[in-house]
Structures are given as structure tokens and as C-alpha cells.
């Protein structure tokens, strides 16, 4: 009842005229002229402000490629990416001002081992020239948000994988970007930590009101987190199907035992098996 049966009004909101991210005809080719690899077919996608979108697909489906292009780490071969109506790539050049609307979290926390946790979180602000006092105040606020207060002076290696990933999320949020891009953020964590991090992510998303895109190959993670799931298929990577997920928020882990949830998981699993 919650899945794919959203009221038309909500659907119209998603397709509202001013999406925060708009991909128009975005494609990506890798490699040399002799043996080019088509990583992503020309893709159109609108992402609404405040949406939690999940890109789901098997490996080689172009989901990470798509995220890295939106994140400004990879230039699209063709097409346009607009963030809040502004072009991200102009003539193969990243637009710095537009990039600052984006925060990225990777599969590895990628904290700098030579900086303490608070310095890691405050690093983006340091790069922006924010005075020391302000950036530490912000870092401490964020540490409270991601619940790692008390570890300010620790080295990253002294924290567990889950806590490092929390710090990485805090770092990405430090300069208050509108959009958080997460590339398999919990893929390196054990199943229990992963569940609790998914709950935490939902809470952080609700508290901050960010637009979040999560790349994953976990079906249950996708179904648990998403407002909308974009399922991609490989060779070449392209959008296969889109699913609206309407389970009420905040979702607890128990949502996974709902018949509707299991039906959605089943649908996704079958579709993934067909396209892989």
C-alpha cells in the first residue's frame, strides 16, 4: 500500500519544475578510441530538493560513475548536469562554486591519518578560510549530530569503521552543502553496524533536510532508506526502472518485516536478476 501507490499530488511534487539536481542526456564513455567502454547511456534524471534517492544496481551498471559525475569527480562525455539550475560542468571544467553545494562520502571514510578527528571534520572549513574558533565550533556541533562527541582529539586509526564513517559524514556536512552524495557509504561495515548506520543516516537526513543520493548494491538498504529507488542495469549502464517508496517516516528496522517491504524487495530482486 505504501509502494508505488503514492498520491498523484506527491508525484507532481517530485516532478516539480525546479529540481535541485537535473541530468539531461548525461553519458559517459571510458577508455581509448580503440576500445571505448560505454559506462552510462544518455540519462535524464530529476532529483527533488530534500529527496533521499537511492541508485541501486549490480556492479558495472554505472551507478558510481553517475554519482561521481554529479559529485564533480568525473566529467560527463555528453550531456548537462545542473545543480540548483547552475551548470556543474562547462566545457569539461568543473565549476567550483557549484561543487560547493555538494558533499561527498565514500565507501572508505578517507579521513586523513595525520589529522585528529576534529581537524578532519574542520578541514573543509579550513580550506575555505573560516577562522579557527568558528570551524572548531562547527566541528563540535557536527560531532554531536553524528554522535561521536568525546573523540575530538583521537587519530582516525583509533576509531572503529562505523565511527570513522560518521566522522566522514560530519566532514561532508561541515560546509553545509545542500546535497550529500554517498558512494556505498556503509559497504565496508559489518551487517549490524550497517543497520544502525542506516537508522542514523535517516535521522541525520530528517534533522538536516539535505538532499541525499546513496549508491548501493544492497536491496534491503535501498528499500529501507529510499524515497525513490533508481534501478540501473549494466552493459551499457542505464536507468532500468524507478520505484517510489512510501513507507512512513521515521522508519524503524521493523519496517523490513512488513509484507509491503518484502514485496518491494522481491520485485527489486527479480528485476536485478533479469538485468544482471
Amino acid at each position: 500500500m505504501f509502494v508505488a501507490e503514492k498520491e498523484p499530488a506527491a508525484m507532481i511534487q517530485h516532478a516539480a519544475p525546479a529540481p535541485i539536481i537535473r541530468l539531461s542526456g548525461v553519458s559517459k564513455w571510458y577508455g581509448t578510441r580503440d576500445e571505448p567502454v560505454h559506462a552510462l547511456e544518455a540519462t535524464n534524471l530529476d532529483i527533488a530538493d530534500g529527496e533521499l534517492l537511492v541508485l541501486l544496481g549490480p556492479s558495472g551498471c554505472g551507478k558510481t560513475t553517475m554519482l561521481r559525475m554529479i559529485g564533480g569527480l568525473l566529467d560527463p562525455t555528453e550531456g548537462r548536469i545542473e545543480i540548483s539550475g547552475k551548470d556543474l560542468w562547462i566545457a569539461g571544467r568543473r565549476q567550483g562554486e557549484t561543487v560547493s553545494e555538494l558533499g561527498m562520502v565514500f565507501q572508505e571514510a578517507n579521513l586523513f591519518p595525520w589529522l585528529s578527528i576534529e581537524d578532519n571534520i574542520a578541514l573543509p572549513l579550513k580550506l575555505r578560510g573560516v577562522p579557527k574558533k568558528q570551524r572548531y565550533r562547527r566541528a563540535h556541533e557536527l560531532m554531536e549530530l553524528v554522535k561521536i562527541t568525546g573523540f575530538e582529539k583521537r587519530w582516525p586509526k583509533e576509531l572503529s569503521g562505523g565511527m570513522r564513517q560518521r566522522a566522514a559524514i560530519a566532514r561532508a556536512l561541515s560546509y553545509d552543502p545542500k546535497i550529500l552524495l554517498m558512494d556505498e557509504p556503509f559497504g565496508a561495515l559489518d551487517a549490524m553496524t550497517r543497520d544502525s548506520m542506516n537508522l542514523e543516516l535517516q535521522r541525520i537526513w530528517q534533522e538536516t533536510g539535505k538532499t541525499i543520493i546513496v549508491v548501493t548494491h544492497s536491496i534491503t538498504e535501498a528499500a529501507f532508506l529510499a524515497d525513490r529507488i533508481v534501478l540501473l542495469s549494466p552493459r551499457p549502464g542505464r536507468i532500468d526502472s524507478v520505484y517510489d517508496v512510501g513507507f512512513p517516516r521515521p522508519r524503524g528496522l521493523d519496517v523490513q518485516s512488513m509484507p509491503e517491504f518484502q514485496a518491494l524487495v522481491k520485485t527489486l530482486r527479480h528485476r536485478l536478476a533479469e538485468v544482471s
Binding site: G71, G72, L73, R94, G96, V99, S100, L102, G103, M104, F106, E108, N110, F112, P113, W114, L115, L123, P124, L127, F151, R154, W155, K157, E158, L159, S160, G162, M163, R166, D190, M192, T193, S196
Partner: protein, 268 residues
């Protein structure tokens, strides 16, 4: 909540870290004892092998003489100055070559060439060019210490993790910011390793330089003792040099604790 703080990983066998503090003095005493009894009972000439006590007396005499200290200072000064130049040039060039691939490929044959030349063979040339004074020794020390520092710095810059680079790119860091906050910081442990090798080579370079064409320094002292057939004096100078080498090596190693306290190598 499964999240928990993990203790800093203890090195395997860290419980035996006190071992060298016992074994080292014991082995030194054992060697001295063998040396002592060998010179006492074998009837070997003191011109070939003086007894440890004779060497000790000469060394104590050296430590009390201003002349020996002035030679020591000369050697220390040349070594440190040469090492400093080697460090500055090695790190600067290493940071540049680590980032600019085509320049590295272009310059690499020449850098290797300067290294496969037996540098000790260059010393007479340096003496011809720069005289018997300190300049030629400083240069030898610089040339010798430069290479390990350079190669380690290049390695340090190249070993920056792709994920860390992605972070800097996604944070829209300028080239200079990425360089200062990432490349340089990442290269520091490697630079210190290069420094540890470099400082020892710098001492060797200086001493050989003084030995072959000098009028001051420990290398020069060594030659004078040899020319005077003072074998015990020769031993004393060698011990003096060894201790100097230790001091430099450990001082460099100590940098780890202060410059890169986050690195595993600082935990020893």
C-alpha cells in the same frame, strides 16, 4: 550500538621491546672482554691491535683536548650544512617530480647517472674546484644525502591514496591546498626515512672528503693518526665517529615522534 573505540593496534611482540636494553650492553661488554683478553694473551703488537684500555685512555685524552673538539665541530658543521642542502634540494625536487610525471621521466636518467657515479671518485674533483676548505666537504655531504631523500620523497607523493585525492577534489581544494594538506603531509614519513639514510651518508661523505683532501675535521684527524702510526688514536677516532653517527641517526629518528606522531613508525 556496535560502534566502539578500538585500542590503537599494538605491535606484535611489543612485550619484548625492552630486550635491546639488556642485550646491547651485554654484547658490548662481551666484545670488549674478547678484545681485551685477545690483546693480553695473544702477544699481538699494539701497532696492529691496541688493547681496549689503551684506546679508552687515548679517547679520554681526545675528549679533554680542544683540538679534537674543534675537529669534531668542523665535521659536524660540514655534515649538517651539506645534509641541509641535500634535504632542501631533495625534498623540493622530490615533491615536484612526484607530481609531474613527464618531468620525472625526463630527469630520471640524469638523476640515476649522478647516483651510479661512485661519488667518492668526485671528491678529488670537488677539491680541485672548491679547494681544501669546507666547501668541498659540504658539497660531498649534500650530493650523498640528496639521493635517498629525493627517491623517498617521490615515493611519498606517489603513494597518496586515490580516495584521499577524491576528498580534496570534492572539497574543491586548490592545487596549492591539495599539495600542502595532502601531498606534503603524506610524504612526511617517507621524507624522514630518507633523512635517516641521508644523514649517515652525509657523515660518510664529509669524513671521506676530509680524509682525501682536508686540513681539518675528524677525517683529517684519522689520517694524521695513521701517519703517526698511532693505532690506538686511530681506534679512538673511529669510536668518536661512530658515536657521532649514532647521535645524528637517533636525532633524525626522534623527528618521527614530533613531526608524524600519527604514523605507526612513531610508536616504537
Amino acid at each position: 550500538m556496535t560502534d566502539a573505540v578500538v585500542a590503537p593496534t599494538e605491535r606484535a611482540g611489543s612485550g619484548t621491546s625492552y630486550l635491546p636494553w639488556i642485550t646491547t650492553p651485554l654484547l658490548v661488554v662481551a666484545c670488549l672482554a674478547i678484545w681485551h683478553f685477545y690483546t693480553k694473551f695473544s702477544g699481538i703488537s699494539p701497532f696492529v691491535l691496541p688493547s681496549p684500555s689503551a684506546v679508552w685512555h687515548v679517547w679520554m685524552g681526545m675528549l679533554a683536548s680542544p683540538r679534537a673538539w674543534s675537529h669534531t665541530l668542523t665535521t659536524v658543521y660540514s655534515t649538517l650544512l651539506g645534509f641541509f642542502f641535500g634535504l632542501v634540494v631533495g625534498v623540493t625536487l622530490g615533491l615536484i617530480l612526484g607530481r609531474i610525471r613527464w618531468l620525472e621521466l625526463t630527469l630520471n636518467p640524469f638523476i640515476v647517472a649522478t647516483q651510479v657515479v661512485p661519488k667518492v671518485a668526485l671528491i678529488p674533483l670537488f677539491v680541485v674546484w672548491f679547494g681544501f676548505g669546507m666547501t668541498s666537504k659540504v658539497l660531498v655531504a649534500a650530493v650523498l644525502s640528496f639521493f635517498p631523500i629525493l627517491t623517498n620523497t617521490v615515493l611519498g607523493v606517489k603513494s597518496v591514496e586515490a580516495g584521499h585525492r577524491d576528498v580534496m577534489t570534492s572539497l574543491n581544494a586548490s592545487r596549492f591546498q591539495a599539495f600542502a594538506q595532502l601531498d606534503f603531509r603524506n610524504a612526511l614519513p617517507y621524507i624522514i626515512t630518507g633523512m635517516e639514510v641521508g644523514i649517515v651518508l652525509a657523515i660518510i661523505g664529509t669524513i671521506v672528503g676530509e680524509y682525501l683532501g682536508g686540513s681539518a675535521g675528524l677525517g683529517y684527524m684519522l689520517v694524521s693518526e695513521m701517519n703517526a702510526y698511532q693505532t690506538d688514536g686511530l681506534f679512538a677516532v673511529i669510536i668518536h665517529m661512530t658515536i657521532l653517527g649514532f647521535v645524528f641517526y637517533f636525532a633524525t629518528g626522534l623527528l618521527r615522534r614530533f613531526v608524524i606522531p600519527w604514523h605507526q613508525s612513531a610508536e616504537v
